[in-house]
Point group: C2
Chain length 521, copies 2
């Protein structure tokens, strides 16, 4: 019988759920991911726990909501006391490694407090989110602070790319007519091809790292987090991908004048960020989005190459393969750029899972969260899911076509925008910038500290253009969602995460067994 | 100028706030604590974060609410990632030690995950709640599981007390007419004196440990947590204290027939525990409470001895002295025994603080919480209070008579009764037993998962005999409290506890400084 022995956990960075043909994009053919979906289950309502890299990933890796793991934004260290994927899978006999990005900031203060040397074996794992850093590369390397040890730059140098930071000068820049470097840090240069040859760009290089690790493992079981840096900005695509897409392939923008004229204060402040202003200017989307699509096309080709190699190695017979993203990208929709807020283009995820013994070609509409992956992996490997710590639930029943009758009624996502300019514009303190999204499959409720909630009806307004939050006939519904948020805060999370439910069951009223008598006459 | 260099943090176990003459008890003279109050500030509205040893103490030691530190009941390990008092005071140059009880269960799984050896120096601190265990003794030593290394038993053996467990056989048992041992595990034996001589009983022994530590320190700065085991049960008092109190000294019971006939379901389930049933039987209070009072009297004498020695050593001139308890004791009030629920006799604390340069003889009515002590200590020593991690606030301004105009509007306490028989009686799961108390100085609101809330008006009903929670004219108030609970859950705690507020301020919108450009055209 087919058995899952390995896990290939592939993540793309900032990949919108709807920019894949498997999810219906009309002009973005991604045949290799289509094939993965045809051989597995495509989740149609998967959501990130936060629509920004750091907190979203910390939820992916810990299996816990942002309020529980506490890493509320990029570069907020993950508390040393938080367990991560590797802590669960390593005891099951797997080598657990990383190729690519985690965005995990180590809790150096917490490690120092415990005398844990970050350079020790345990210290490295604790600093790398529980992954053995086969190759760690978070993907953004400004020349002002690039590491001289950056493996990708060393690789590029060997290939003959010159300069101190070929990541920037070649992989993420174009070339002007007079040979000048046109930096990918600026959106305007996305209209030119990257200087690098496609085969040396970041996506194939990361695929090579993954294949090297997988080959190295031979028959020994493994979990690899292959965490691609793209299509996250800098939006610089190499040829021949660059030329595959043009302005004519760009979908019409999804926005309404009323969104801007009657904007929720938090949304307005985000519209005023540079990315919101620039993506709203005429012509910007048409110049940037073709590069974004080219990067996705290249990613799909690399997935194809990876799958072909896995097949040849026989690994498709014993490997659970997951493809997802950490969050999406507004790309000008709703007058916004980047991510963070809670519209589907930002917070909804592509999620495709295939593996031996699992359903093929299925589409799953149940509400799924990023935190479901850790318990799914444990469950798929036959381990016991520590439900007192993990807050997600195993998707294995759904993957096997044995969906339970009861499933979750709501997905939850969170934001802490304290690090953003929006906070200054809104005049708020660093602890007053939290937001929560609850989505029940039809209604999406968004609450921000200090402001009226937003409410969207995705059945009648799938494009999320009409905020019903301030309409009097929806106050009752908003209140019900607020009550649901309260229930989640008090009952939906694991407060007692250091002791199992079974232990509490056994201990209930059990003092006498240990000889402690109290209250007896 | 007087300067605070040391901290003596004294805690009694299960000492009701109102069983001290300083707090108005008519028949319980505690002159030494009266004198401490006369030389310092007596806090009149101090509350525990939980009315049971473990979670209450973990809040005292971490400076964080129970929902934040996660040790929701006795023996639920404190996550290795939680910082404790010693982590804050040791860098300020103090030796931070324990003499007595912490009730802290180490997070051995969490330590194992990080490769932290519990026997190493860092491991010991992490296992002992950040305290150097000068002497650790949690006070309950059933003969079935007594440690052969128990220091107090070794001491008793040297004094000539025989048996494998003189803690039980001598210090916590009486003797029958035919020489048989009458175990203190049973309430009925509280009517007899303990077999031990007073000077060898637990309270003076613990005082000796403290004095030994303080002398050993000389002029080097220290923080000592002197954590007495008594007057926690076994309620066994030695002579001459035993004979100082009799049934005639026992205050009338505080309970109403209506409390029982119309009991809130959770309260009824607690009434049905052995301690509730037995303390409600005629004559039990009259036999047990005199022993409880005798133990308090002995404790007060020991405080007197300690203070006299400190004065002689000159330590009163440079030491902040805190006297408090972890929670109270129902002693039959409200048809209950033990603690855990949220009536004042259970959750309200005695709290007296004195030190050089602080107010003398003051009575402070502002709402104060156990979590305020850690920031108070740091502040008193001139350290910087890490407000992103700590959830209490420094009492130093109140102690110096410079109270800020804004103070907290509500104190919060929590309960997780999943380990108790009440859960079985109520047919609830191990994750469905949480309760919260909010008290604003007049109204006390108590919410339990799955039940209607309780509401008490302490202005018109200071004895808390009338539960207004089900009265229709108080629904509005209960809803307002529920909203306040929501606000606390979302804004009143520190979710982002690994990065300071100042760091977030500095980082806001600061990517450009590091060379990361995004959203710019």
């Amino acid at each position: 019988m087919a058995e899952i022995r390995n896990i290939l956990f592939i993540m793309a960075d900032q990949l919108r759920w709807d920019y894949l043909s498997a999810y219906g994009h009309p002009g973005m053919p991604t045949p290799h991911l289509d094939r993965l979906a045809a051989n597995g289950v495509r989740f149609n309502r998967a959501y990130a726990q936060s629509a920004i890299c750091g907190p979203s990933r910390m939820s992916f890796y810990t299996g816990r909501y942002v309020t529980s793991h506490g890493s509320t934004w990029n570069q907020v260290p993950l508390n040393i006391g938080e367990w991560t994927l590797g802590d669960y899978l390593r005891p099951l006999g797997l080598r657990v490694a990383l190729a690519g990005k985690t965005h995990m900031p180590a809790d150096l203060e917490g490690m120092g407090r415990l005398g844990l040397d970050p350079e020790s074996a345990d210290g490295v794992l604790a600093s790398q989110c529980g992954f053995e850093p086969y190759i760690r590369d978070d993907g953004l390397h400004p020349s002002q602070s690039v590491s001289p040890d950056l493996a990708y730059n060393r690789y590029l140098a060997v290939q003959g790319y010159d300069g101190d930071n070929p990541w920037h000068d070649w992989a993420n820049s174009a070339e002007g007519e007079e040979g000048e470097i046109l930096s990918g840090w600026y959106l305007r240069n996305a209209q030119f091809p990257a200087r690098i040859r496609a085969e040396h760009s970041e996506t194939p290089w990361m695929t090579d790292q993954a294949l090297s690790f997988i080959r190295e493992q031979g028959e020994a079981p493994w979990c690899l987090h292959l965490s691609y840096i793209k299509p996250h900005w800098p939006y610089m695509a190499p040829e021949p991908y660059f030329s595959m897409f043009g302005a004519e392939d760009v979908c019409p923008v999804n926005r309404a004048e009323e969104e801007r004229s009657q904007a929720h204060p938090v949304m307005r402040a985000f519209m005023n960020h540079a990315e919101g202003r620039n993506f709203s200017k005429p012509g910007v989307r048409e110049k940037v989005i073709p590069a974004y699509m080219a990067l996705i096309k290249q990613l799909d080709d690399e997935i194809g190459r990876l799958m072909a190699e896995l097949e040849e190695m026989g690994r498709l017979d014993d490997t659970l393969i997951v493809f997802t993203a950490d969050h999406g990208d507004y790309l000008g929709d709703h007058w916004l750029g980047e991510k963070e807020l809670f519209h589907d283009c930002s917070v909804r995820l592509p999620l495709i899972i295939s593996g031996p013994g699992l359903a093929k070609g299925g589409v799953e509409d149940r509400l799924v969260e990023a935190i479901d992956l850790v318990p799914t992996f444990i469950d798929a490997l036959g381990g016991e899911v520590p439900s007192h710590r993990l807050e997600g639930r195993s998707l294995l029943p759904l993957l096997k076509g044995n969906a339970p009758r009861q499933w979750r009624d709501v997905v939850i996502s969170e934001l802490d925008y304290s690090h953003r300019g929006a906070r200054l514009e809104l005049g708020r303190g660093v602890n007053d910038c939290r937001g929560w999204m609850l989505f029940d499959g039809r209604w999406k409720y968004v609450a921000f500290q200090g402001f009226e909630p937003q409410l969207f009806d995705l059945e009648n307004d799938p494009d999320e253009l009409e905020d019903l939050g301030r309409q009097s006939d929806h106050q009752e519904r908003s209140r019900a969602f607020q009550a649901r948020l309260f229930t989640w805060l008090t009952e939906g999370r694991n407060i007692r995460a250091t002791l199992s439910d079974e232990a509490v069951e056994q201990r209930t009223d059990s003092w006498l067994k240990k000889g402690v008598v109290f209250g007896e006459w």
